[in-house]
Amino acid sequence: MKGILFFVVMLLSIIAYTQTTVTGVVTDESGQSLIGANVLVKGTSIGAVTDFDGNYSIDVPDGSGILVFSYTGFQELEITIAGQSTINVALAEGTTLDEIVVTALGIEKQSSTLGYSIDEVSGSDLTQARESNILNSLQGKVTGVNISNTSGNLGGSAKIIIRGVTSLSGRNDPLFVVDGIPISNNQTTTGSRITGNRDFGNGASVINPDDIATMSVLKGAAATALYGSRAAAGAIIITTKRGESNGGNAKVSINSSLRFDDLFITPGYQQDYAMGALNKYDSSSVGFDWGPRIVGQTVDNLPAKGGPGQLQAVEDNGVKKFFETGKSYINNLAISDASDRMDYRLSFGALNQTGIVPGSSLDRYNISLNAGVNHNANFSSRFGVQFINTNSEGTAAAGANDPNIIGLSSFSSNLDPDWYTPWIDDAGNQINNVTPTSNNPYWLRFENKNEREDNRVLANFSMTYNPFDNLSISGKVGYDYDQDNRLLTNRKGTAQRIDGNFIVDKLNRTQLNTDIIANYNTDLGESLTLSVLGGFNYNNRTFSRETLTSTSLLVPELFDPGNTAQNVPTRAFSEQVLFGLYGQAELGYKDFLTLSLTGRNDWSSTLPTNNNSYFYPSASAAFLFSNAFNISDKVLSYGKLRASYAQVGNDTGPYQLDFNFFPITTATGQYSLNINFPFNSRLAFAKSNTIPPENLKPESQVSYELGAELKFFDYRLGLDVTYFKSENTDQILALPIPETTGFGFLRTNVGQVNTSGWEITLDATPISTKNFRWETMVNFSNPKTEVVKLAEGVDRVLIASGFSSVQVVAEEGKGFELFAIPFLIDSASGRPLINPVDGTRQAGIAKTMGSVLPDFSMGFVNTFRLGNFSVTGTVDWRSGGVMKSSTVENLQTGGLVIETAGNRQGTFIDRSGVLDNGDGTVRENDIPLSSTTAFWQSIDDNSIAEPFIFDASYVKLRELAITYSLPESVLGSTFIRGASIGVEGRNVALLYSKVPHVDPENTLFGSGADGFGIERASTPSTRSLGFNLRLTF
């Protein structure tokens, strides 16, 4: 680290300045401002992007040079600065498309020179209909990206997969980089799916969408090669907004939204039959409506409330009463300014939400400062800091074995949720619960706490020194600090946690990252240009955690270990270091050919010291054939071919090389009936269950992509096609081995996973008149994952485990599959074999039941502008893939939904089944089931999952935003320079789905696991509608 300090001191010693700021407005020929247009000082990497009102501000060294203005579908325009401080331009439609995009290490490049595909989404697109989790805003907008949401839980995580899954060991998350600094996107849950957990969101969800200028999605290995192994699954490069000049005044922007969240889908509850079993009423059987027909009869004992009363169906089983309307207030205030010497932007964001689950709330505050100074013509520095404070309460429980889980099957036809109120008496006892061994849901929501406070600091500091024209040297230091404190409690008197308990969980994560980069550009004669880059990277990550689990409280609601009979503290710590040395050479020929070569060597602390170094190269080429062959007619306006090849290595997690004995605090038992050490004052240690690897090698990925980018009819129509393929070998995996060896796993290099597919984007501006403009974009991708090879004798590897024998597995010859128990079938007819004793269906042997990943996904984004109105809608289509829904299972076996209301009287024969004659033949089933209940309950007997596995395809109207910009004639005389109001909606409508009663998108897993395709008691997802106001002055 001494070298870095020396470098910093060296840079600091040279300070002076001569620089000017140029500001202005970019519009189209009709005067409509262009949002997100690029402004670049020609021949440099100094650039800016126009804001909502088309304003830009750019610092120009020496106050001279040429500004290049560009915008998709418009002609590029070059203007000589010549000392002007204000340059307003109007761009004409259609010509060269040479956008500036942000590539790896934050290097801005002209997109025509890239040999790989890159998707860039501007900040304004991300805030069309604002999402509290920035990842969700990408849904449907970026080709080749799959984003899944866990549930309607406030602050819940979203999982992003770029170009399909490639890793068997869970390393499928892209690298997140904010202003050049990698940040953590980890998700750590408190508890497990088995014991019940809380999803507190993924690490990158704290980024304030209002602070984002652009988000680049780097998909292939060639695009991410300079980031090295950490971006093996792609990278998301976020650039935050910088200060802009505002004609001598500070610029103030206000963006306010008010949003309402409601249940997205209400199950089709049956309202004819009451709680109970075998047509007999039972006031305690919540979620089991197999009772008598509701005919207004009087019963002795109403549920929860008690006492006699009349049986009456409650609309939608009361879910609309129980789940509330969530409210979100999203406010952002930004102040910015810029001059030729400095720029800064200070932003305050506040997100205040209440959820649909009673008692849930989330408050997030972002303060960010992004500032830069040009000390002199050769030397500049920049720093950015974001402080993010997140407080949440009442985060809903998920998983299993936790009494706090409330799902759509926790309601009954004749149980009015109002009867649960009040839920506590003066003495602190739980009341109005339906039985002493079950809980009043309001007690769970309001007496049991889930509090979390997360403080995050993302800071970066960089200096750039240009000793002479063609050379720049920059150093950048970034730090990501996260302190996450959680308190989960169960109040004394909670059934199943009768003595009360609490968990204090404190997590700390840090990441220090340093890059030193030198960049040299030169012309090699008439038609050749050369750009060379070399850099060094140091990255250090730590994670530490302290957890206290305390059980049996003496004094209620006193959460101190001194007040509990049992205290189990645990600790965890890890640290890993990576050094990287990288270089890139880019050769340009005339204006149509670019060849780029990169190389990077990483040294990782997580690999054996004798094999911790790995080198990987990449090569890419871009050929602008429309320039090369001077094709520029009315039909084809632009044509480019690109090709790239890359090899990437990857390390593993820390502390996986040694055989160790672990101090143990818990002896596990079924149903979480655990025992703790010290036991009778005895300490306990146990060996690791994983045999450490010998001669571990880095993982390897070889990939290539080919693509073409074509623009037609003066850029009114664009087509971008990419084919990609990657081969992932030597995966570092804890391979399951026979437990009869005394160990469960062997960590080793195994297997091969291939991923390939097409990405196609079609964009068009079918109509463009003075007052009306329609822009449309369709994207398609079909990443296919094939598990080519696992290890010798291993057919499948567990990726994630659900419940009731349902798993996600990687199976050789297939991909990521749902593995579950089907019905036992007669192989000849393919029909279920019926149990001759009771007429029920029987369980077969577990098998793979289909891919959990979609065959393809498509997004449709349409924008209509009519005068000052604009309407934007995004439709998201996912096709293929299966899911198992435990919520549907519970709704059906509980007799809660409409399809279970038929044939309730008398017996029932399952006519779709056959009976085994014992001689290899079968006959039609004629054995009656004792009741309809028996049919529905038997179809999931012995963990049969088949009837609850559905095609997970869906089409959703993902977002819709209508905006009206107040015309200047209205604002003319006021201090307000721009104002717009809008109506926005997210998850607006489910247009197509084959999954009954629930949102096909819900999953049990958060972003921390590669689990897809399993849904269980998740918090129902929400539909959001809201209003938005934006002001600048």
């Binding site: 001494k2 061994t437 600790r571 997580t606 038992g669 009936l673 240690f685 060896t741």
Partner: protein
């Protein structure tokens, strides 16, 4: 170009200085140990075994031998869920045997001063393999626990496993006999069963040998010589020698049976009705005058057992008492009455010269005294006079089928609350005759578990699963 040189120099010095290599040399977890003492490994093994055994097997399969009327997620109807089988299998092989293998290896390397540690490890291994074979019949034994030589262990026959278990126990007894007079490793902290008392371990090893030989004898009478030899060596014949793990009345250290009741229902099994007696248990005890009856069964209204397959909380009826389902009831591994009843059985069969009546009475006295007096933390008691009056008042044991039936019924009652031994006993003796539970998918009561999918998928040598009603080798 001067700057490039400076820059290059900085890079070079950063990369190739030793400090970089030092910075990478951090891959050692500060929160783990590279070796461990048997006094910390044995507590893990014993308690993890006991807790998994109690909460997984105890609360789930005690209705298979029909000691309980019904258990949660029970395999009684023929389906052994992958969680039940997987959790149990993993506990035995990786948590218990995997650690014991390392304890034994270290102790053997240390020489005779650690013979006691090696012997304890081997006895516990023998116990695990005995139970594994009792649950699955053929399991990896000779090739188990040696992944380097046998990455996919073959499965041994039940006969060879049981004979191997006997050899293990002989080996452990030999190690104990070969202990030096002084300087023996102090294992009293880690040995939660006997606190390092190797005389008792020797008795336990010999008693387990007898138990295993009795299983072999069901098929192969040629073990009679070995049985007689074992009977000539010290055995567990006194309640003070009972092998057990004690539990305590604190949440962190209490027995899993009651923790299940308190965690999911409320206080007290009698009030909650979670565990109820199965029909055969109720029929053998209720009204028999056996002083154990009230200690074990609560049925104030004489409502009878709720019926096999039924929970008492659904239908009412008799329950297992709070005297049994309590925090501090010990995990019983071997009780002396088991030896007495074997002796009575063998005497009736003419294998030994023991007095069958005497051993029968001794067994009954031992087991009733255990429940009524000697078990730690008993809330209900039985007086010695009452016990003597009951035992003396029983009709004489006849030397015929009926006499044998009475011994087998007492063996069945003796195994109460010990799921594997109880299941073995009823499968070995055929008494009492168990009826398949209502709603079963198989032709008999459950005879075996299926192999867990994890082993099936990772070990190509795993045999095909027989139906769960196919009897094991020892039953034939």
């Amino acid at each position: 170009m001067r700057y490039i040189k400076i820059f290059s120099f900085i890079l070079a010095s950063l990369l190739f200085s030793t400090s970089c290599q030092d910075a990478l040399d951090i891959n050692t977890n500060p929160l783990v140990a590279s070796s461990a003492d048997p006094n910390v490994l044995l507590p893990f093994v014993i308690i993890q075994y006991s807790n998994r055994h109690t909460t997984e097997l105890g609360t789930r399969i005690m209705d298979v031998p029909q000691h309980f009327s019904a258990c949660f997620n029970s395999p009684r109807n023929g389906n052994t869920s992958i969680f039940l089988t997987g959790n149990t299998w993993g506990m035995y092989y990786t948590q218990v045997l995997g650690n014991l293998q390392l304890v034994e290896q270290d102790a053997r390397d240390a020489g005779p001063s650690s013979n006691n540690v090696a012997a304890i490890a081997i006895i516990l291994k023998a116990q695990s393999f005995f139970e594994l074979s009792s649950i699955w019949e053929n399991v990896p034994f000779s090739e188990a626990l040696d992944g380097a030589s046998f990455p996919s262990p073959n499965f041994d026959s039940q006969e060879s496993i049981f004979r191997g278990v006997v050899s293990f126990l002989d080996e452990a007894i030999g190690l104990i006999d070969g202990m030096p007079a002084e300087g023996v490793f102090d294992v009293s902290t880690g040995d939660l069963i006997y606190e390092g008392d190797m005389d008792k371990w020797r008795k336990l090893a010999n008693s387990m040998k007898l138990r295993t030989l009795m299983m072999l004898r069901n098929v192969d009478a040629s073990v009679d010589g070995a049985i007689n030899a074992a009977l000539g060596q010290p055995l567990i014949e006194n309640n003070a020698d009972a092998a057990m793990l004690r539990y305590y009345n604190t949440p962190a250290e209490s027995n899993g049976y009651n923790r299940l009741v308190e965690a999911f229902f409320g206080i007290g099994n009698e009030a909650q009705g979670v565990y109820a007696p199965g029909d055969p248990l109720y029929e053998l005890l209720w009204g028999s005058g056996d002083p154990r009856t009230e200690l074990i069964i609560s049925d104030p209204d004489s409502a009878g057992a709720p019926g096999n397959g039924q929970f008492a909380f659904g239908v009412g009826g008799a329950t297992i008492t709070n005297n049994v389902i309590r925090n501090d009831i010990p995990h019983m591994i071997f009780l002396p009455a088991e030896v007495n009843f074997y002796r009575a059985e063998l005497a009736l069969k003419g294998v030994t010269g023991d007095n069958a009546q005497e051993q029968f009475n001794l067994g009954l006295t031992n087991i009733i005294k255990w429940w009524g007096q000697d078990i730690p933390g008993a809330e209900l008691t039985a007086s010695s006079d009452a016990i003597a009056a009951y035992v003396d008042g029983l009709p004489a044991l006849t030397n015929d089928e009926d006499g044998l039936r009475r011994v087998h019924e007492q063996q069945y009652l003796e195994t109460f609350l010990r799921p594997v031994v109880a299941w073995n006993t009823v499968r070995r003796t055929g008494f009492p005759e168990l009826k398949p539970p209502p709603g079963t998918n198989i032709t008999t009561y459950l005879k075996r578990f299926n192999y867990p999918p994890d082993e099936v998928s990772s070990n190509p040598n795993t045999p095909a699963n027989p139906n769960t009603d196919v009897p094991m080798w020892f039953e034939n």
